[in-house]
Symmetry: C2
């Protein structure tokens, strides 16, 4: 795994072939289905081959590597992150952030890959291009365009990855949220003993009923608008 990511898939010429039997697109589609259905650990070349009615090693004609396959599959995640051509920069940033977030929610396996696998695929590139356009039109100048864009992307990733990872590992246990809380509560209480702020915070939640899922969403919104506000002041 992960020996030499550069060249990545996107830097190599695609083999133009006869387009019969297996095809690269077909493989990628099947891989996404498998991932969505059974998660990252369940993706093996053999299983994927079987799902396509082919031998495992046949895949290696169309795809150099498992790593390369993953790069291809990751770009599918970006497929739904589409921004309107002409949009206010704030609106563009919001649409991007929420679309990206939703994309990872839709493909939870991507949470452990999305910052790590280089995003050089066509879908990822058009998404950045659109976002960049909005920032340029807004009046960001020079390197600030990059900085501002990067900030939005960073925040979105950093907020989404842990959220999705938590949810999907929760689902893997089969426990409900309240069950988990009941199991974890006493331990956290003990651990928080000499951490006054955490303890205080934890206590204040214990009384009221409070949905961590909703809270996360609101947290995402809060941080996003704060960031956009901060970026806005750098426009003049």
């Amino acid at each position: 795994m992960s020996a030499k990511p550069f060249s990545s898939v996107w830097t190599r010429e695609r083999k133009g072939g006869r387009e019969q039997g297996l095809s690269r697109d077909q493989i990628v589609r099947a891989a996404v289905e498998l991932l969505d259905a059974e998660g990252l650990d369940a993706l093996s070349m053999r299983k994927l081959g079987a799902r396509l009615g082919a031998g495992a090693t046949s895949l290696y004609w169309h795809v150099a590597n498992k790593d390369e396959l993953i790069e291809l599959v990751m770009d599918e995640v970006y497929a739904t992150v589409v921004l309107p051509e002409a949009a206010d920069w704030r609106e563009a940033a919001r649409v991007f952030a929420y679309a990206m977030r939703q994309a990872v929610f839709d493909h939870p396996w991507s949470a452990s890959l999305i910052g790590v696998v280089p995003a050089l695929g066509p879908n990822a590139l058009t998404a950045s291009d659109r976002l960049m356009g909005a920032f340029v039109r807004a009046g960001f100048e020079g390197i600030d365009v990059d900085y501002a864009m990067t900030a939005v992307v960073s925040y979105t990733l950093g907020a989404t990855i842990p959220e999705v990872a938590f949810l999907s590992s929760l689902e893997a246990t089969g426990k409900s949220m309240t069950e988990l809380q009941a199991a974890v509560d006493p331990v956290v209480m003990k651990l928080a003993a000499d951490r006054p702020n955490l303890l205080e915070r934890y206590r204040s939640y214990a009384g009221q009923d409070y949905d961590p899922l909703v809270a996360r969403r609101l947290a995402f919104e809060f941080g996003l608008t704060a960031l956009l506000d901060g970026l806005g002041t750098r426009l003049r």
Copy 2:
């Protein structure tokens, strides 16, 4: 891998034992050494056992799982993220952000784990506790404390993960930054053909010499202060 993360290591009682031969701490320390030296793919139970002069399966007495071992090892990453007890919230946030960033730089293998593995270890908890304290003292109230904290953490993670992942995969190829750029340039140019904003941007960099490493650092600073500014306006 990753079947049922809750209970994680931190929710189980530690076996109190005779403390001879192997110990959990010893194992974790050796694992970090191995990871730092050879990367995430190189960490296997057999190799780790060998490094400790023990059989691979002996480890399973001290550690339930490889997943559990990884939770333990991840908390070591947070060990260097220490905040001063009493600090201005902005300063605390900055120290946290840069310390976290540095920690991941020091242990590049953590980039692909840090958002995904639950951070419930003692080091992670004290770090959040300190950060939270600063935000409370600053005057954030109620749920805003969480929101503001989460925003800072999210941004930091989202900015750091891709940066470190890129650097360490670059190192894995053995190519230098300029070599890589030379190899990738024509491909990007072609891909950017119908993405006007990316193309324009790429062109404008081609002339001047511009160090992507430095740029990333400045980008981190830019986004961080923007975010802190945005959070600051929510204090009154």
